[in-house]
């Protein structure tokens, strides 16, 4: 049987660029699931592509039909009356001679192997595709026929479905599948027939570059090397165009007196332009825009974009100038009318709390000053217009208004890290301000019951918590944060979860290592990081996991004996041999561990393993003499507590 190619193109009105990748993955998984479930997957390769107006799946190597199969039907026992066996054959419409015998646990039974003809692949596809298409995942969908009708990201306007040369016929949302695609909205034909083989070329002739990679390459080839690399912007442009063509434009250099941050934000976020740097790395008065078109022969697109940019820059300049009429310091009182949260008061209230917290955390005069001015840019026209520049604008204003460079940088960096990929504030003042601001938000929200649940986290408290963790660890700040979060049990638990998340998901430590280290304390996250690194390094050594297993045993013994310590070891009661040796080694290691860094200390502890093994081998903890028994428990207790300051080894999941 010959292999057939399959083409599915779902023609849609413009899909939001950021949803396309996920939709393709979803389509791939759904289609693969269909093939696997219907025994059609073998030897099939899938290719997925998309533009804003089409999701495309191509499969190579499909068979025309499922292979035939057999179904085994069991009848009465072989020993049954002939009438019963004849009845079985009659029911199936076959002769008794066609029946076979199947051995079973209760004796031989009459059986029949029914041949099931494989179904035509096109039938299976026609039946399944409407369901598959509607199951493609999008974060937000709409209806366009009626409220109970089909939902998709945007209305579906055409569908191409071809198996070999034949249309796979189905209907979805009033659209009948066919062999006609649609070209670029303005440059291509609205309806044009395709085959699997001609598909990509036909699209190209109609100004649609199907492959995202080709579109990406075209954009990169056409922009100058001097553009600021911006992978996120590039991806957006790749997925909002079917035929990208780059045009260059320029603006009056007089706008360069505005801060580069503002100009770049306008170009990147509002206009989706690449900005350009000169040789010294300074912003150049030029930009590159990406059209969804094939050229700009009369320069109309270029001049249009330049005009829009000019208007935007004029707005920004107007706001910048207007904002200088009141300094940040002069704006502090007006923060009273900017609400932070109804129960937590205004931004003026928050400012006071954060400044106190910065003080409490050991911030210097610059940090405190930065805290006092940090939120003032919320009242500026520029931030009202470009909300994504909050903090940055405050920092820029602080600089031109004569605040110290450190305070200005702290204000500028206060919202960092904005994500787990972002960097932390540059200076200690900014780090402390950022922590204090986030901590105040956490403390406040938890105190009034605004606690994130499931996917609901409207105040982005998880991000705030992770931001604090990231700053503490990566800036190596040993600040008394734990004491503050432990004032509220729920907040402490939440914060500990953020610590776990950070070390597991962001830093890639094993969950049991994280649990073991955190069980030994998390008041100082710098120490947590160092202890984790030590555990991770020592873990592969041969003594470590067996020792961890012994610690678990020790813990169980202590628990069963309900032994809570408070007993000192009496050397006279130690039995010579394994017990006395363990004690001696324990004292030895203990003497050195406290002076060592976490890594060598852990190695030293792991070296106890043979002594511990021998002890459990030779010595019965549950001795008949209660004094001896208590002494042994005391030995184990001390062993465990002395060596659990780095990590609680009993949390380590061992294979032995």
């Amino acid at each position: 049987m010959s292999a057939l190619p399959f083409l599915l193109e779902i023609g849609v009105e413009e899909i939001p660029d950021w949803m396309i990748g996920g939709a393709l993955e979803s389509l791939r998984a759904l289609f693969q699931e269909l093939l696997t479930g219907r025994n059609l997957a073998e030897g099939v390769t899938l290719t997925l592509d998309a533009t804003p107006r089409r999701l495309v799946l191509r499969a190579q190597g499909l068979t025309e039909r499922q292979t035939d199969s057999e179904e085994l039907l069991l009848g009465p026992a072989k020993s049954a009356a002939p009438a019963a066996i004849e009845g079985f054959a009659r029911k199936l419409g076959v002769n008794v001679d066609d029946l076979g015998v199947e051995k079973g646990p209760k004796g031989d039974r009459v059986s029949y192997r029914k041949k099931v003809a494989g179904r035509a692949t096109t039938e299976i596809l026609a039946e399944a595709l409407p369901g598959i298409i509607l199951k493609i995942y999008f974060p937000k969908t709409m209806f366009w026929i009626a409220p109970g009708g089909p939902r998709f990201i945007r209305p579906i306007r055409w569908i191409v479905a071809l198996l070999g040369d034949a249309v796979v016929p189905f209907e979805l949302a009033g659209v009948h599948s066919g062999n006609q695609t649609s070209g670029h909205r303005k440059l291509g034909k609205a309806r044009v027939p395709v085959t699997f083989e001609t598909y990509e070329q036909t699209l190209l002739e109609n100004f649609v570059i199907l492959s995202a990679d080709e579109r990406r390459k075209k954009i990169l080839a056409e922009v100058e090397a001097s553009v600021k690399p911006d992978p996120a912007l590039l991806e957006t442009l790749v997925y909002i165009t079917e035929y990208p063509t780059v045009i260059g434009g320029s603006f009056d250099p007089s706008y360069l007196t505005l801060p580069a941050e503002v100009l770049v934000t306008v170009m990147k976020h509002h206009q989706k332009y690449f900005s350009v740097e000169d040789k010294s790395g300074a912003l150049a008065p030029r930009f590159f825009a990406v059209m969804n078109s094939n050229g700009d022969p009369d320069g109309l697109v270029r001049s249009g974009n330049e005009r829009v940019l000019r208007a935007r820059f004029n707005d920004a300049r107007f706001f910048w100038d207007a904002d200088q009429k009141a300094t940040l310091a002069a704006r502090v009182p007006s923060l009273e009318s900017v609400m932070f949260q109804a129960k937590l008061g205004s931004y003026l209230d928050k400012t006071k709390r954060v400044a106190d917290l910065v003080n409490e955390l050991g911030g210097d005069a610059d940090a405190v000053r930065a805290a006092e001015l940090a939120k003032c840019d919320l009242t500026s026209e520029l931030v009202k217009e470009f909300t994504e520049l909050q903090g940055v604008v405050g920092g820029l204003y602080a600089r031109v208004q004569g605040e110290t460079e450190t305070a200005a940088r702290a204000i500028y960096d206060q919202y960092k890290p904005s994500s787990m990929e972002d960097s932390v504030p540059r200076d200690r003042a900014g780090q402390i301000l950022s922590i204090a601001d986030k901590l105040d938000t956490l403390r406040g929200c938890f105190s009034i019951g605004l606690i994130p649940t499931g996917s609901r986290d409207p105040f982005a408290l998880r991000r705030a918590g992770q931001g604090i963790v990231k700053i503490l660890v990566e800036a190596k700040l040993s600040l008394p944060i734990a004491g503050i979060v432990k004032e509220n049990a729920q907040l402490a638990e939440f914060f500990l979860d953020r610590v776990r998340y950070y070390f597991k998901e962001i830093r890639g430590f094993q969950y049991d290592e994280v649990n073991a280290v955190l069980a030994s304390g998390w008041d100082d996250l710098v120490s947590v990081e160092s202890r984790l690194a030590a555990v991770q390094a020592v873990r592969p050594t041969p003594n470590f996991e067996p020792l961890a297993a012994s610690f678990k045993r020790i813990q169980n013994i202590l628990k069963q004996a309900d032994f809570k310590g408070g007993v000192s070891i009496d050397p006279a009661l130690l039995e010579p041999g394994a017990e006395a040796e363990l004690h001696a080694e324990f004292e030895n290691v203990r003497a050195t561990v406290s002076k060592k860094a976490h890594g060598p200390a852990l190695e030293a502890i792991a070296s106890l393993r043979p002594a511990v093994d021998r002890f459990f081998d030779k010595v019965l903890v549950n001795a008949a003499d209660p004094h001896v028994r208590r002494n042994r428990l005391a030995l184990l207790y001390q062993l465990r507590s002395e060596f659990s300051t780095i990590a609680d080894f009993s949390e380590i999941v061992t294979t032995s």
């Binding site: 804003p52 209806f143 165009t241 249009g304 000019r310």
Partner: protein, 296 residues
């Protein structure tokens, strides 16, 4: 080069040719063409409808005393409602741009995701902002809900920003330099509106009076809504006048907001108050229309 008014004529003619009723603006002040009963109420229910109208739209907070070349207290929207949405709606829309002389083969058109939501109206939809050479010229929305009610026919709403579009066509950097009609600039026609309403909205509007007016309109609307369930002859019941009071409240809210008289905490509460009467009217309207159909 077409004047501002010629652009309006051509667009109206274009949509009239495609079966739209050409309406005049609603005679109560609104913030957007969506708020007019021709959109807000007509999109509800199962009856097909097509309408286009220019709606002067007031945004008190956007006033700039006539000094900013791109920002206006009162701009003009051409609002088109196609209920239900024709399959070729986007092609029809692009045709309207060609009709006012934009050769799309020489320009760059993009549809960028932009979902629309009006919390005071309990209304939202899915759609795009349409970008022409980097300039946002149209908001395109597939209405999903209005007054908190799922819409039976998913209408398309096309809202053109007429000043921007004309400034683009006439290649003007300032809206005030647009030629409205031969020998008359946009500034000649509208500058006084911009200046005087900015002064009023930002400086002279009496906050106490505005709040009183807000309360009065809200009360009158709520009074009517309270009577509707008991009304015997539903068809006669004045829901359209009740809705005008919703619009009054909405505009007063915007004016108070521009005046800086609404704190962030109060804001949510006031939005809820407007939403409550807007949703109330929408629900009563659906009931009223349903009854009228049943009677036919």
């Amino acid at each position: 080069m077409d004047s501002f008014q010629q652009v309006v004529f051509k667009l109206k003619q274009y949509w009239a040719d495609r079966g739209c009723i050409i309406q005049e603006p609603h005679d109560v002040e609104v913030g957007a063409g969506t708020m007019c009963p021709e959109t807000f109420l007509r999109v509800l229910g199962p009856k097909p409808y097509r309408v286009a109208y220019v709606q002067p739209s007031r945004r008190p907070a956007d006033g700039r005393y006539g000094e900013n070349p791109n920002r206006l207290f009162k701009h003009s929207q051409l609002q088109v409602i196609l209920k239900p949405t024709p399959n070729d709606v986007i092609e029809q829309y692009l045709g309207s741009l060609e009709a006012i002389g934009i050769d799309l083969a020489k320009h760059d058109i993009k549809f960028e995701e932009d979902n629309w939501e009006a919390p005071t109206l309990g209304a939202w939809g899915i759609g795009w902002q349409v970008m022409l050479d980097g300039l946002e010229i149209t908001q395109f929305t597939y209405f999903q809900q209005c007054g908190g009610i799922d819409l039976d026919l998913c209408p398309a709403e096309i809202t053109y920003g007429l000043e921007r579009l004309t400034a683009f066509l006439q290649v003007k950097d300032s809206v005030y330099d647009i030629e409205w009609a031969p020998k008359f600039s946009y500034g000649d026609v509208r500058f006084n509106d911009e200046l005087q309403y900015s002064v009023y909205n930002f400086e002279m509007a009496d906050v106490g009076t505005l709040w009183q007016l807000f309360d009065l309109h809200e009360k009158e609307c709520a009074r009517l809504l309270g009577l509707y369930p008991k009304a015997e002859e539903k068809r006669r019941f004045p829901l359209l006048p009740a809705y005008d009071h919703v619009l009054k409240c909405s505009n007063l809210f915007n004016t108070l907001d521009a005046r800086g008289a609404i704190s962030v905490t109060e804001r949510v509460g006031v939005i809820q108050r407007v939403r409550k009467i807007a949703v109330g009217v929408a629900q009563a309207w659906v009931n009223q229309q349903h009854g009228a159909e049943a009677a036919q």
